[in-house]
C-alpha cells in the first residue's frame, strides 16, 4: 500500500488529501464552481449560452448549504454511528442567528419604520428589544452565535445523552423530540422570533443588497468556500487517530469502552463539531433563500437530511454532498413538474436505498466502492489482488 503520508511527512494534510480521490474531485469542483459561476453570472451577457441566471446561482447556493448540512450528518452518522434526527434544529438555529442579524439590518426601512424593533415586535406592541437580540446588529457577533448556539445546544444535549449512554434508536428518538420541542417553541409569538412567520423581508447584508446579482454570487462563493473548508475539517477528523476511535465506536461501542476509551467524550466532540457545521450551513442558507421560519425545525425535514446522506453514500463525506445534490435536484424537479409524485419518489427512495443501496450511489460506483477512509488506490489494488487470486 502506497502511503502518501510517508512521502509527505512534512505536510500530512496534503498526504491524506491526495489519498482521498473523491475529496479531491469535490474540492476541484468547488474551486472551479466558485470561480466560473460568478464569472458566468456577472460578466457574461444574458444572451450568452454560458450565462448563469441569478436564480440558478441562488439555487446552487442553496444546494451547497444542504450539502454542508448533509456533510455534518455524515460526520456523525457515517463515522460515529450517531443517527441524529434533529440536525435540522442546529441548521435552523444557525439560520435564526443570521436571520436576526439581517432583521436588525433592515433598521427603519420596515413597514412600521421603527429603527430598533423588527416589524413583528412592533406589531406585538413590544416596546424594547429582548435581551437575547442584543449584539445581533453586529455581523461578527451573529456569525459567532450561528456557530456557538448550535454548538452549545449540541454540547449540552450530547453531554447528557452520551454520558448516560443513550444510544441507537433511543438517541434518534430523543433528538427528534428535541427538534419537535424547538419547533413548538419557535411557533410561539412570545419567544420573540417572529412566531409562525419567522424572520423575512431582509434587505441587505454588510451593506450589500441581498437582491443584487453580486451579493448572490458572493454568497454562492462563500458557500463553496465553507463547504470546502468543512469538508477538509471533517476529513481531517476522520483521518486522525481520533477518527479511528470514532469508527471503532461506530462498529463496536462497548469494546471501545472496555478498551479504556472515554467513548462519551469522543462522541460529544464530533457531535458538537457537526452541530457547528450545521449552524454554518443554516447561516449561509438564510440570506440566499430570504426567510427563516419554524418550519425548518420540522422533524420530517431532519429525517430527510439523513436520506440525502444515505443516497449519496454513508461514511464517505463526499457522498453526502453528492446525495444532497441528487435528492434536492430531484425535489426541485418533481415539485415543479409533478408535485403529487414527489412524496412517492422520496418515500420510494428511502425504501430502495436502505434495501438495495446500503452504501449509496457512491457505493454503486466501482471506483469508489471501498469507502470509509480507504484510499482509492488501495481499493483498486485490493480488487486487482482479488482478481489475481480468482
Amino acid at each position: 500500500m502506497t502511503d502518501y503520508s510517508q512521502k509527505y511527512k512534512m505536510t500530512p494534510v496534503v498526504g491524506w488529501l491526495l489519498q482521498d480521490r473523491g475529496g479531491m474531485i469535490l474540492l476541484a469542483i468547488l474551486i472551479a464552481a466558485s470561480i466560473l459561476i460568478p464569472i458566468c453570472s456577472l460578466l457574461l451577457p444574458q444572451s450568452s449560452a454560458f450565462h448563469v441566471p441569478t436564480w440558478m446561482v441562488s439555487l446552487l447556493g442553496k444546494y451547497l448549504c444542504y450539502a454542508l448540512l448533509a456533510l455534518s450528518v455524515d460526520l456523525i452518522w457515517g463515522f460515529c454511528g450517531i443517527l441524529s434526527l434533529g440536525h435540522g434544529a442546529f441548521f435552523a438555529l444557525g439560520g435564526y442567528a443570521m436571520g436576526m442579524y439581517l432583521m436588525r439590518q433592515i433598521g427603519d426601512r420596515g413597514v412600521y419604520g421603527n429603527p430598533d424593533l423588527p416589524d413583528f415586535m412592533v406589531f406585538l406592541n413590544w416596546t424594547e428589544l429582548p435581551w437575547y437580540w442584543y449584539g445581533f446588529d453586529m455581523f461578527w457577533f451573529a456569525i459567532v452565535m450561528a456557530m456557538f448556539v448550535p454548538g452549545l445546544l449540541a454540547f449540552v444535549f450530547g453531554f447528557l445523552a452520551f454520558r448516560s449512554r443513550v444510544t441507537g434508536v433511543y438517541l434518534s428518538i430523543i433528538t427528534q423530540a428535541m427538534t419537535y420541542a424547538l419547533l413548538l417553541a419557535f411557533f410561539r409569538n412570545d419567544m420573540g422570533f417572529g412566531g409562525n412567520n419567522g424572520l423575512t423581508d431582509f434587505k441587505d447584508l454588510l451593506g450589500y443588497s441581498l437582491q443584487s446579482d453580486g451579493t448572490r454570487a458572493g454568497l454562492f462563493v462563500a458557500s463553496c468556500v465553507f463547504l470546502g473548508l468543512c469538508y477538509i475539517v471533517a476529513r481531517g477528523i476522520t483521518q486522525s487517530r481520533l477518527g479511528k476511535v470514532l469508527i471503532a465506536i461506530r462498529d463496536a461501542e462497548s469494546r471501545v469502552r472496555f478498551t479504556g476509551y472515554r467513548v462519551e467524550y469522543y462522541k460529544l466532540f464530533v457531535f458538537t463539531v457537526s452541530a457547528v457545521m450545521a449552524g454554518i450551513a443554516g447561516a449561509l442558507y438564510v440570506p440566499q433563500v430570504g426567510i427563516i421560519n419554524p418550519g425548518e425545525f420540522a422533524p420530517a425535514l431532519s429525517i430527510e437530511i439523513v436520506i440525502w446522506v444515505a443516497v449519496g453514500g454513508r461514511g464517505t463525506l463526499y457522498g453526502a454532498v453528492l446525495g444532497a445534490f441528487i435528492v434536492n435536484y430531484a425535489k426541485t424537479f418533481f415539485t415543479g413538474v409533478m408535485p403529487d409524485f414527489w412524496l412517492f419518489f422520496l418515500g420510494g427512495l428511502f425504501i430502495a436505498v436502505t434495501l438495495f443501496l446500503p452504501k449509496g450511489v457512491i457505493g454503486a460506483v466501482p471506483a469508489f466502492g471501498s469507502a470509509n477512509g480507504q484510499s482509492f488506490l488501495s481499493g483498486v489494488r485490493k480488487r486487482l489482488n482479488a482478481g489475481g487470486k480468482a
Binding site: A177, A185, I303, F344, L346, F350
Partner: protein, 567 residues
C-alpha cells in the same frame, strides 16, 4: 373540535337537566315557547277567561306607556296562557279584529290570516289583512315584552322552560324579580328546581336583604352549593361589603362561605384536570399501544405507525360511506363494523410491509427507521391522491355525542368517556392475547430468544409477520377511535407519531404496563401544566422533561432485565 361542536348542536334542550351554555339556553327557550302554544294550560290559571280577554283588549291603545302597564299586569300573575299572546305581539302577529274588536293572534296562511283565539288557543276564523288592525310595537315595547316573557317562563307548564328561567334570574341577579320568584317558589313542585329557586332567592336576598339575619340565612344556603356562579356571587358580595361596610358577622360568614366554596371548587378543578389528563392519556395510549408491540416487542422502529392510525381512520370513513345508504347517520353500527374492518385493513398492510421491507432489515434498527419513514411518506401521499388532501367527515354515533355536565363546571363528554373505556378494552385485549393464546406465547418466545424459539420449531418469520400485523391492526383500531376526536386527513398520523414514541420510550420498551402507565402519566402531567403554562408550553415542558428522564433512565420506567435488553 369538530365533534365537540356537533355535540353542542345535537344536545337537545330536553335531554339535560341543566344546560349551561348561554346560546343553547336561549335557543332552547325559544324552541319551548313554540311548543307552549300547543300545550294545554294546566297550571294554576290566574285569570279567568273573561279577565284575560278584557285585559288583552286594553292593549289596543296608542300609548306605549299604557301598553307597557298592561303587559306588566298580564305577566305579573304568571298565567301560562299569557306567554303565547306576548310572544305573538313581539313578532307583530297580534291583531284587533275590526268586526268585533276582539284581540286575536293572526297567522298568515298564503293570502289570508288565520285567527287564533287568545284564550282557548283555537282557530276562530280567517280573513284578509284588511279586516285586522295590528297592535303596533316599537323597540321600547319589544324590550318590555322580552322581560315579561322571561318572567312568565317561571310559570310555564314546561319544566325545562322554568329551569331556564330560573337560571336566567340567577345570572341577572335583579332584585326586582324577587316577588315573582317568591310566587314561583310557592307554586313549584319539582324538588330539584325548587332547590335552584331557593338558591336564586338566596342570591337575591344576599344583595337586597334588609337585615343581617336574612343575609346570614342567604349565605348559609349559598355556602352549601359548589358552582363557579355562586363563587362569583359571594366574592362580589364580599368585595362590595368590604367597600361599603357591613355587619362584621355577616362579612365573616360570607368570607367563610366563600372559602368553603372555593376550596370545594378547587378540588373539583383537580378532579377535572385528572379527568382531562386521563382523557388525553387514553388517546396517547391508543396511539402508542400498537407501537408498544412493534417497537416494544419486536424492536422494530416503525415510523409508519402513525399512518396505520390514519388508515384506520380512513377505513372508518369508507365504512360509513358504504353503509350510509343502509344505516342512519347516527347509528352505532357503522363504528362497530369499522373496528374489525380497520383492524383487518391496517393489519394486512402491516403484514405486507413486514414481508416486503422490514424483514430484510432485522438487526439494523436505524435502517428500519429510514425505510419505514419512506413507507409512511408513500402511504400519506397515496391517501392524499385517493381521498384528497382535505379533511373527511366522520359522523359520530348518537351514543358518543352529548355530555354529562356537573353544576360544578365539570363536563364529561361522552366521546371522551368512550375513548377512555375503549383504550382500556384494547389494552386488556392485547394483554389477553399475549398472555393466554398460543400466538402470544410464540410471540413472547421469539422476543426473548429468537434462535431458541426457532430451534423448538416456532416459525419465527411467520410470527414476526403476524406480530407486526397485530401491532399495525391495533393502530388501525386506534384510528377508529381517534377519527372521532381529530381531523381525518392524510396528516393524521404525523400528529401522533412523536407522542407515541415518547410514550413507549417513557414507559419502557417491551412492557405493556409501562406503556399504559406512561400514557396516563404523560397525559395527566400535561393537563396539570396547561393551566399555568398554556397548551404549547406544557407540551414543550413535557418533551424536555422526557429528554431529561431518558438521560436518567435510558430504558424507560420499566426496563426489561436480562439479555433481551442488549439484543
Amino acid at each position: 373540535m369538530r365533534n365537540e361542536l356537533f355535540s353542542v348542536l345535537r344536545r337537545s334542550p330536553f335531554s339535560l337537566k341543566k344546560v349551561r351554555g348561554g346560546f343553547v339556553r336561549l335557543g332552547g327557550a325559544m324552541a319551548c315557547l313554540m311548543l307552549v302554544a300547543f300545550v294545554l294550560p294546566n297550571a294554576a290559571q290566574a285569570f279567568s277567561d273573561e279577565e284575560l280577554r278584557n285585559i288583552a283588549e286594553r292593549l289596543d291603545t296608542k300609548s306605549s306607556t299604557q301598553k307597557i302597564t298592561v303587559i306588566e299586569e298580564m305577566a305579573a300573575d304568571g298565567d301560562p296562557r299569557v306567554a303565547p299572546i306576548l310572544k305573538a305581539m313581539l313578532e307583530g302577529d297580534l291583531f284587533v279584529r275590526d268586526s268585533d274588536e276582539h284581540v286575536v293572534i293572526g297567522r298568515k296562511k298564503g293570502k289570508v290570516y288565520t285567527h287564533i283565539d287568545i284564550v282557548s288557543g283555537e282557530e276562530v276564523g280567517e280573513s284578509s289583512s284588511k279586516e285586522l288592525s295590528k297592535i303596533k310595537v316599537n323597540n321600547r315595547l319589544r324590550g318590555a315584552l322580552r322581560d315579561a316573557l322571561a318572567t312568565l317562563n317561571l310559570f310555564s307548564p314546561d319544566l325545562n322552560i322554568r329551569t331556564n328561567a330560573v337560571e336566567q334570574i340567577m345570572d341577572a341577579r335583579d332584585p326586582t324579580m324577587l316577588p315573582l320568584l317568591l310566587r314561583a317558589i310557592e307554586r313549584e313542585d319539582d324538588e330539584t328546581l325548587l332547590a335552584r329557586m331557593e338558591l336564586a332567592r338566596a342570591t337575591m336576598a344576599l344583595a337586597a336583604g334588609e337585615n343581617p339575619a336574612e343575609r346570614l340565612a342567604a349565605i348559609d344556603v349559598l355556602s352549601s352549593e359548589t358552582t363557579p356562579q355562586i363563587r362569583a356571587v359571594l366574592s362580589q358580595f364580599v368585595a362590595s361589603a368590604e367597600a361599603e361596610g357591613i355587619e362584621p358577622e355577616v362579612l365573616a360568614a360570607a368570607k367563610d362561605a366563600l372559602n368553603d366554596v372555593e376550596g370545594r371548587l378547587s378540588t373539583w378543578q383537580t378532579v377535572g384536570d385528572v379527568y382531562r389528563g386521563i382523557s388525553l392519556g387514553s388517546v396517547l395510549l391508543l396511539a402508542a399501544v400498537g407501537l408498544a408491540i412493534t417497537f416494544g416487542v419486536m424492536g422494530v422502529i416503525n415510523m409508519a405507525h402513525g399512518e396505520m392510525i390514519m388508515i384506520g381512520a380512513y377505513t372508518t370513513f369508507v365504512v360509513q360511506q358504504i353503509l350510509s345508504s343502509v344505516l342512519p347517520s347516527g347509528s352505532p353500527w357503522s363504528l362497530i363494523i369499522a373496528v374489525p374492518a380497520a383492524f383487518l385493513v391496517a393489519g394486512m398492510i402491516g403484514v405486507v410491509i413486514e414481508r416486503c421491507v422490514i424483514r430484510f432489515l432485522y438487526g439494523r434498527p436505524l435502517e428500519t427507521l429510514l425505510a419505514t419513514w419512506g413507507v409512511s411518506l408513500v402511504l400519506q401521499q397515496a391517501t392524499r391522491t385517493i381521498f384528497g388532501a382535505t379533511n373527511q367527515q366522520v359522523t359520530a354515533p348518537d351514543f358518543m355525542s352529548g355530555a354529562i355536565e356537573f353544576s360544578t363546571g365539570l363536563v364529561l363528554t361522552y366521546n371522551r368517556l368512550w375513548i377512555i373505556l375503549f383504550s382500556l378494552i384494547v389494552v386488556a385485549g392485547i394483554a389477553c392475547v399475549l398472555r393466554y393464546t398460543a400466538f402470544g406465547l410464540q410471540m413472547r418466545a421469539v422476543t426473548q430468544n429468537r434462535r431458541m424459539a426457532g430451534s423448538v420449531g416456532i416459525r419465527t418469520g411467520y410470527v414476526d409477520a403476524l406480530t407486526f400485523g397485530l401491532g399495525s391492526g391495533i393502530a388501525g383500531i386506534a384510528g377508529v377511535a381517534l377519527s372521532q376526536i381529530s381531523n381525518v386527513s392524510p396528516n393524521l398520523g404525523q400528529t401522533y407519531i412523536i407522542d407515541s414514541f415518547m410514550v413507549v420510550v417513557f414507559g419502557g420498551v417491551g412492557n405493556l404496563w409501562g406503556t399504559v402507565l406512561g400514557a396516563f402519566s404523560l397525559g395527566i402531567v400535561n393537563k396539570f401544566l396547561e393551566p399555568f403554562a398554556g397548551a404549547v408550553l406544557a407540551k414543550i415542558f413535557v418533551l424536555i422533561a422526557l429528554i431529561l428522564f431518558i438521560q436518567k433512565r435510558p430504558k424507560g420506567l420499566f426496563a426489561l432485565k436480562g439479555r433481551a435488553v442488549e439484543a
